[in-house]
Subunit: 378 residues, 2 copies
């Protein structure tokens, strides 16, 4: 680390407040330890070996990934228990087989007979019991077999009789991102648990194995009041938190651990605007707060110490330009001098972090290390 | 290149149709050669040495960049004439000086007295005449001195008398992206030209140098009917084109040279949806067509040969999931089998390409090469 001060860093840079991150990790770990369910952290948010080591209970895992490229990179770093939590495309099975041959206990997920048949064919071809969780649709969010659909047992039978290692069920309560208060979050968590428990019981009643019952989303993980029957919880964004999570009440703004350091490069007093050198390339195009009660544009603007400056936000973003305005129309924007450094909190931590090659790690507000992200790609 | 067929490529992958790209390049070059103005292509869209070589009239340039990291990477590849077209942050001047010491004729832009004074101070400190263009606001889009504002001459004098190499003026008609027809595009081009010409003449009338008059945006570059007095045109997205450009009539859908190859990983007949393994990580979060007459969500869906499939679009995107629906509510979505490969055309080529490490180059529809992108970062 060459820079000893935020004023020496190139702009834009992605900053990571290590103490906030550690607090976020401890908070979820302690909540889940009370509920007596282990965490299988999702590594897609951070995509960093250093951060994965702080998230996992053991250097070998368990953990969750969103691409096989992540699985390969974390396997290279010694992680041995991985769930690839995107419905398997049959064309990806050779890479799954190769990872398992390397000694990585990699599981896949699926929700259709066609996928189950493709996995069974791969098990037969490669003489390997590929572990599978059947994806359950607990809230109409995206993918998964719906509870009560006889397809569940059909898929289970194709897998079990076809030589796969049917491990059970998983779901992701993505709909919980639309919650507006603690009661809705608690309900979303219980709905998630109930849907996947019902499906596990249906599989067992049909004589099929279902040792694993996996749930997960950052909002439901924090607001679950009971997780009876659940064997693991997955969550990713909690490590950094973001404005979307603050908007639904999962965290406060002071919990957000990443920000984009930027410099003021222009003034438009006629428009009550400032320009900074962080556009969508540094912030991402994510507009996650657009559908929330408080819309922060492309991010909330803080001073160099990380304290919000009034209601300032990045209202518009071009590739390398951000336009700063106040969220309150007519409220004056301070004429921060050219070169002033600001920090921009992200709407969506996964998307903003993905725009950067690595993290500048801050401790007590000062840069102490650089942690690379694993390269993007699939 | 190992894959000889699109069916052998990993999904998602970024595909580049080389023949469409070459046609796009020839089209703009031939339009500008009729108008007798050279192109200074913007390399921020492609960020590729191989593509830069096809865009520039000479391996040494000229070209435009959006970050100093691009400038350094293209300098390493032999480009010697570069414009860094984002208002200069004073903290970046040491890197500008270092690039110029390496023999790169790098110019910067600015629109304020504070920036001009910072450049003059750097010129004095490093005994170097840093070349500068004053940015002009031709359409209220973003940055720049407004025509008629006495600030123009004040900034010009600070630079000229402070030891900088005042080269003239530049503008970017970003507002042209809101045009809806050829007449509006022609008007935007003439407005861009007129604003910057007026400012060049004001500088000259004040006894200040202004040899360079630089304009540029893909829409105005294609629709300019005359460019009298303009000395160079900058444009970037034209190399690939995209749905936003098609939506404002700058190109047709058949001109779009990049697409994201994806595989079907799920069916939701109850919702008239398909799932693919390309989410915002592969497509970007850009929603550029949202404000146009025809909104393509996160991209238009084509078959593996690149032919649009009805009105299919990616309606929602999670990190590694895309949800495909028809743009016409109620119109049935074909039940493409699991594993079927589709190609997704981007809203915004710059944003989608930025999500990938490189291009799979297609000639006559078959993969023939891989071209890396220069690493992201600043």
């Amino acid at each position: 680390m060459t820079a000893s001060d935020l004023l020496d860093l190139d702009t834009p840079s992605l900053l990571l407040d290590e103490q906030r991150m550690e607090r976020n990790i401890r908070r979820l770990q302690s909540h889940l330890s009370v509920l007596r369910v282990p965490l299988r952290p999702h590594l897609k948010t951070a995509k960093s070996i250093e951060i994965a080591q702080r998230l996992m209970r053991d250097p070998s895992g368990p953990a969750t990934v969103s691409t096989l490229q992540e699985a390969e990179a974390f396997a290279d770093a010694g992680v041995r228990d991985l769930l690839y939590a995107v419905g398997i495309a049959p064309g990806k099975l050779p890479r799954v087989v190769a990872l398992r041959r390397r000694g990585v206990d990699l599981s896949v997920i699926l929700d259709s007979l066609d996928q189950a048949r493709a996995v069974a064919a791969a098990c037969s071809e490669h003489r390997m019991r590929i572990p599978v969780l059947i994806e359950i649709d607990s809230d109409g969010h995206r993918a998964g077999v719906q509870p009560g659909d006889p397809l569940l047992i059909e898929v289970g039978r194709v897998l079990h009789e076809g030589g796969a290692d049917l491990r059970g069920v998983m779901t992701h309560a993505g709909g919980s991102y639309g919650s507006r208060n603690a009661a809705e979050l608690e309900n979303a968590a219980e709905q998630e648990r109930a849907a996947v428990m019902r499906c596990a019981e249906e599989l067992r009643a049909a004589g099929l194995p279902a040792p694993v019952v996996s749930v997960g989303s950052t909002p439901t993980a924090h607001f679950a009041r009971r997780l009876d029957g659940v064997t693991e919880v997955r969550a990713g964004v909690f490590v950094f938190m973001d404005l979307v999570m603050a908007g639904i009440g999962v965290c406060s703004v002071d919990d957000i651990a990443i920000s984009v350091l930027a410099a003021v490069i222009g003034h438009r007093p006629d428009k009550n605007q400032l320009l900074v050198d962080a556009g969508w390339m540094a912030l991402s195009r994510d507009r996650g707060t657009a559908s929330q009660a408080v819309d922060w544009g492309y991010g909330r603007v803080c001073d160099i110490a990380g304290r919000p400056i009034g209601e300032l936000m990045v209202s518009q973003a071009n590739q390398e330009h951000g336009i700063i305005e106040s969220r309150e129309p007519g409220s004056p924007v301070p004429a921060l001098p050219i070169g002033t450094r600001v920090r921009i909190l992200p709407n969506h931590a996964c998307a903003t972090a993905a725009q950067h090659l690595g993290y500048v790690v801050l401790r007590d507000g000062a840069p102490v290390a650089r942690w690379p992200r694993i390269p993007s790609g699939w």
